[in-house]
Subunit: 198 residues, 4 copies
Amino acid sequence: MTDSVKPRARGADKRRRLAAAAAQVLHEQGVERTTLADIARAADVPVGNVYYYFKTKDELVRAALSEHSTRLDEITAGLDELPDPRERLKALVAAWVERREVAARLGCPTGTLAVELDKRADGVLDAAAAAVIRRLLDWAADQFRALALPDPDALAVTFVSAYQGMSLLANALRDPEIMTREGARLTAWLDSLEARAG
Amino acid sequence: MTDSVKPRARGADKRRRLAAAAAQVLHEQGVERTTLADIARAADVPVGNVYYYFKTKDELVRAALSEHSTRLDEITAGLDELPDPRERLKALVAAWVERREVAARLGCPTGTLAVELDKRADGVLDAAAAAVIRRLLDWAADQFRALALPDPDALAVTFVSAYQGMSLLANALRDPEIMTREGARLTAWLDSLEARAG
Amino acid sequence: MTDSVKPRARGADKRRRLAAAAAQVLHEQGVERTTLADIARAADVPVGNVYYYFKTKDELVRAALSEHSTRLDEITAGLDELPDPRERLKALVAAWVERREVAARLGCPTGTLAVELDKRADGVLDAAAAAVIRRLLDWAADQFRALALPDPDALAVTFVSAYQGMSLLANALRDPEIMTREGARLTAWLDSLEARAG
Amino acid sequence: MTDSVKPRARGADKRRRLAAAAAQVLHEQGVERTTLADIARAADVPVGNVYYYFKTKDELVRAALSEHSTRLDEITAGLDELPDPRERLKALVAAWVERREVAARLGCPTGTLAVELDKRADGVLDAAAAAVIRRLLDWAADQFRALALPDPDALAVTFVSAYQGMSLLANALRDPEIMTREGARLTAWLDSLEARAG
DNA sequence: AATGAATGAGTGTTCATTCAT
DNA sequence: GATGAATGAACACTCATTCAT
C-alpha cells in the first residue's frame, strides 16, 4: 500500500531530492565548479531528466537557496518554542558551534553562496541569496526587539555579521575551534546586552 | 633614453601588470568566472604571452593573492608609523570604512577569494589564501600583544572575523552603510578593551 | 448533448487538430525549428499524447503536407465551378495575390516545406512534398489542356514556377507588393496565351 | 620556397576554407541539419579551432552567404565583359541551365538559404540572405536599364523570380530538365523584350 | 485511450593550455 | 622573449522518443 506512491508524489519527491542534492553539492563545491551531472548523480537522477524539473542551472541554484531558507525557517521555528528571546539567540549560537566541523570544512552555506553569486554581473541570483540572509536578520531583529533593546536592526546585523565572520575564518583557516571560541564570545555579548539595556 | 628600457625590466613590468590585473579582475569577477583572456586584456598583454610569465591559471591566482598580501603589508607598514597600537587598529578600521563602496560592491578581496578557493578539493590555493588572512591576523595579534591585552591571538581572530563578517554582509546586502555602522562598533570595542586591560 | 461526443469522434478530432496545428506551425517556423511540443501546444494536446496519433515527428510533417494538399484540393474544387479554364487559372492567381501578406511573411507553405525537406538525405518526405506540388501542376496542366494549348505540362511548370518564384522573392524581400506586380504579369501572360493558341 | 607560407597567410587561408566549406555544406544540408562538426570536417579543421575564426554558428552562415555573394560578383563581373546587356542576361541564364544538375539536387544556394532563414524570428540573418538576392536584382536591373527598357526594376524581379521558381521546382521534382525548358523560355522572353522596347 | 515523466544522444559553445615560429 | 593560432576536453541545454500507469 505504502509502496504504490502516485506518480505525482514521485515527481514531487524527485524535485525535492534534486533541490536537496543541489543544496548539498553546491555547498560543497560552489556554484561554478559544480556541474549539472554532479547534482544529478547526487540525486540519483539521469541528467536529461533534471531539465524536466529545473529549466536551467540557475533554477537549481535558486532551489538550493530556497532549501537553505526552509532549513533556516525550521531551525528558527524550533527556537521560537523557547520562552526567552535571548535564550533563543544563544541557542542558535550553540547550534552554529555544534556544526563547527561543517563550518570549518565548507563555511556557511548561504554565506558562501552569496559571496560567489555576488560576483555575477546580472544581480538576479545574488538577490535571492541576500533574501535568505535577510530572513535570518529579520528573525534576529525580532528577538532583539522582544528584548526591548535599542536599535534591534543594528544588533541583528552585528549578530549575523559575527556569525558570517567566524564561519569564514573557521573555513579559511580550517579550524573548527574558531567557531567554539567566537561562539562563546558571541554568547557573552548577548548576555552583556541585558545589562546595557537596563 | 627613456625608450631604451632593458628587456628584463620590460618583462618584469609585464609580470607585475599581469599580477595587478589578476588581483583586480579576480576580485571583481571571482576565480571561476574569470578567463585568462579577461586578465590578459586588463593587463594589455597578448593571451599567448601570459604563459611565459605564469604557467597556469592557478599561478595567476596565486600572484593575485600575493598582490593582496603586498598591499596589506604596505598598509600595515604605514600604520606602524603610528605610536599607539590601538590607534593603528582603529586607523585600519577607518581605512576599511573608507573603502565601504568597494566592499559593498565586491566584498573583501582576500575573503571572497578564500571562500571561492576553499571549495576546491585540492587544498593548495586555499592555503595561499589562508596565508594572507593569517598575515593580517598576525599583525593584529601583534598590536593586541603590544597593548598587553590577554590572549592577543583570540582578540585578533575576533577583530578580523568582524571585518570579514561586515564585508560579507555589506556585499550581500549591497549596503555600504553596514561598513560604517559596524566599523563604529568595532572602534568602540577597541576602545573598551583598554578599560578591561587596565 | 453536445458534450456526449463519442470517443472515436474525439480522437479523430484530436488527430485533425494536430494535423492543422502542424500545418500552421511548420509553415511559420519551418520543420527543424519546430518542436513536437510547439505543435502539441498549438493543438492543445498533451505532448505525451501526440504519439498516440503520430508515431514520429516525420509523420506529423507528412500530415501537415496532407493538410496543405487537402486545402489545395478545396481551392481547385471551388475554381472548377468556373466555366472557363483560363478564368480558373486567373482566379487562382488572384487568390495568391490576396494572400500576399502571408506570402511575404512566410512564403508558400508547400514550397518552403519542399525546400527544407529536399535538404534531407533520405528522400522520403521530400517526395511527399513533391507530390503536393505535382498535384497543383496536374490541375494547372488540366486547365491548359482544356484550353487546347500546346504542351500543357510545360505551361503548368511555367505557371507554378512563377508562383513559387514570386512567393520566394516576396518572402525574402518581405515585400507583398511583389505578389501584386508579378501576379498582374502572370495574369497578362495567361491572357496572352489565348492569342498565341489561335 | 612556396611551401613556407607565412602564418598570416595560413590563418586567412583557414578562414577562407571554413567559409567555403560552410557555403558548400549549408547548401547541401541546410542550416539546421548542419552541425559545426560537419563544416569543420569538410574544411579539415578541428572543431575547437572553428571558434577562433567564427564566434558563432550564425557567423559561419553569414560567411557562407558572403561566399555566395562573392561568387555571384565574380560571375556578373565575367558577364560584364560581354558588350550587349541582353547577351549578358542570356549568358547568365545559360550558366544557370548548365548547373541544372546541382539545381535539381540542391536548389539555388541563396534561395534555399533565404527560405530557411526567413523562418527565424530574429530577422537578422534573413536580411543578409535578402541582401545577396538584392545584389542579383540590382545587377539585372542595370542590364534592363542599359537596354532602355521601361521599369527595369520590375523586369529584374520577374527575371530573378523566374530563376528562383524554376530552381525550386527542379529541386522539388528532382528534374534538371525543368531548368533546361524554363531556361529556354526565359531566354525567349529576354529576346522578346527587344521587340516590345522597339 | 491518455499522459506525466523519463531518457540519452547530440549540439553549440567555452576555455585552459600548448605549439610553431 | 613574444604571439597568433591550435586543440580537445568539458559543459549546459534541447528534444524526439519511450515508458509506466
